[in-house]
């Protein structure tokens, strides 16, 4: 239990730095913006009280906003997925999450994990990009942007599970 007290703060700092220093500089064709800091919210313990999940989502969203001059934007999208996280988990399947408290790829299996990540990242990116544009002008452009960025983020997240979070 004590390990979580070190692990999550380290993850928080690592994800924020990775996002603002490296991934925010990536923009393939001005189109693809991967946002993988959401993985922090996805990897919070399953048994964590939901109000704590919401507060932590708000915190990491605000931190990203602080660095990228977009006050409230990332926080709004993060709080949304912090809220829908446990309904989505229950919707996919309860069996896997009963086996472990940590929703990593190794613990839950590739099928469950992929469904979990795709659904939540998709919600996050859709909300983020449409809120940023705040109009349905260029609807399809924003739609494509959300879908491709989601694909990019999901690939990076799944790869990170194989490379960094192996244990």
């Amino acid at each position: 239990m004590t390990k979580a007290w070190i692990k999550y703060p380290v993850m928080f700092v690592a994800f924020v730095l990775l996002q603002v220093l490296i991934l925010n500089q990536i923009h393939l064709g001005g189109f693809l913006n991967p946002y993988i800091y959401v993985l922090f919210i996805l990897l919070l313990p399953i048994s964590m009280p939901r109000y704590q999940v919401l507060l932590l989502s708000f915190l990491i969203g605000m931190t990203i906003d602080w660095f990228s001059n977009t006050l409230g934007l990332h926080a709004a999208a993060s709080v949304l997925i912090g809220f829908v996280r446990s309904p989505v988990m229950a919707l996919i399947s309860v069996r896997e999450i009963e086996q472990s408290d940590y929703p990593g790829l190794k613990q839950t299996g590739i099928k469950w994990f992929l469904a979990y990540v795709v659904v939540l990242v998709l919600i996050h990116h859709f909300f983020l990009f449409y809120l940023e544009v705040f109009s349905f002008v260029g609807f399809f452009r924003t739609l494509l942007r959300s879908i491709f960025s989601t694909a990019f983020s999901v690939v990076v997240i799944v790869l990170s599970q194989y490379l960094v979070f192996r244990k």
Partner: protein, 280 residues
């Protein structure tokens, strides 16, 4: 009353969610006001320091590009300095214009963070109020206008990039002096749009677009880009002109902040005239 408490307690997650979400949306839609606040943006001491430290490492990977840019800028400045002093002065009958050469002074600064992929892009510089930078100063580089300072702390400043859909710049066509408004549509970071040029003006692709000098922020005649495409949209009596920028925002590393030495004087006389009105 107890039922109410119980109701809130039972649904505390939903209430907290709505509270946080509303708070975020208030932030999003009041952003321009919060931009003025001293914290929660990239020029704060904490975020500025992190960007500077990271920049110290990452700049090694861009040294060759930066060297080339600085060499080009040196060449440009040497060309200016090489012209005999007398030739640079404008004919003495136009005394008003002559002194504009001394109206602006420049502070060079380094870009420590920059984006081009948002709708509202901002740039962070490593100079702040200690170096004489104030909000609403213009920022340029060797290839054109970069943006305008929106926020300063003692050692950092935030610049609203030209690539920001919330900002327009007054610009004109160098060949015939027709002026219009330059704005970005949030898509291609190499392309901006010039509007308000009426149909009777003859335009050529390849014409140079420069700053108009109508605002106190930028001097007149800074080259911005060339006309790439001219189109007429139905229902409008103005051209839509796509301008290809000279400046590559992706490789931006050193910039100059412009100080208008006459700005105080201008503000003072404006203030004085408005005070006089008040007395009457």
């Amino acid at each position: 009353m107890r039922d109410l408490y119980r109701f809130i307690l039972r649904n505390h997650v939903i209430f907290l969610f709505i509270l946080l979400e509303v708070l975020c949306l208030v932030f999003v839609f009041n952003y321009n006001n919060y931009q003025k606040s001293r914290f929660l943006n990239s020029s704060s001491r904490f975020t500025g320091a992190i960007y500077t430290r990271y920049n110290r490492i990452s700049e090694y990977f861009r040294l060759s590009t930066v060297n080339r840019q600085l060499a080009e800028e040196n060449a440009r400045l040497r060309k200016l300095a090489g012209v005999p002093k007398t030739a640079r002065l404008i004919p003495d009958t136009l005394r008003g214009i002559q002194s504009t050469a001394f109206q602006y002074s420049y502070v060079s600064a380094k870009v420590v963070s920059n984006t081009v992929n948002r709708l509202q892009n901002y740039i962070t510089l490593n100079k702040g109020s200690k170096d004489g930078i104030k909000p609403e100063m213009g920022v340029i580089s060797a290839d054109g206008v970069v943006g305008m300072v929106t926020n300063v702390t003692p050692s950092f400043s935030t610049v609203m990039s030209l690539l920001n859909v919330r900002w327009n710049l007054s610009a004109k066509i160098a060949r015939n002096n027709y002026f219009g408004t330059l704005s970005w549509d949030g898509k291609d970071y190499r392309k901006v749009y010039l509007s308000d040029i009426p149909f009777h003006v003859t335009l050529l692709t390849g014409d140079t677009v420069v700053t108009s000098g109508f605002s106190a922020v930028f001097p007149e005649g800074i080259a911005l880009g060339t006309i790439e495409e001219i189109s007429k949209e139905g229902g409008s009596s103005f051209y839509t002109i796509a301008v290809k920028l000279f400046l590559d925002f992706k490789s931006l590393s050193w910039v100059e902040v412009i100080e208008n030495n006459r700005k105080n004087e201008l503000d003072m006389i404006l203030k004085r005239s408005s005070n006089d009105e008040g007395l009457d």
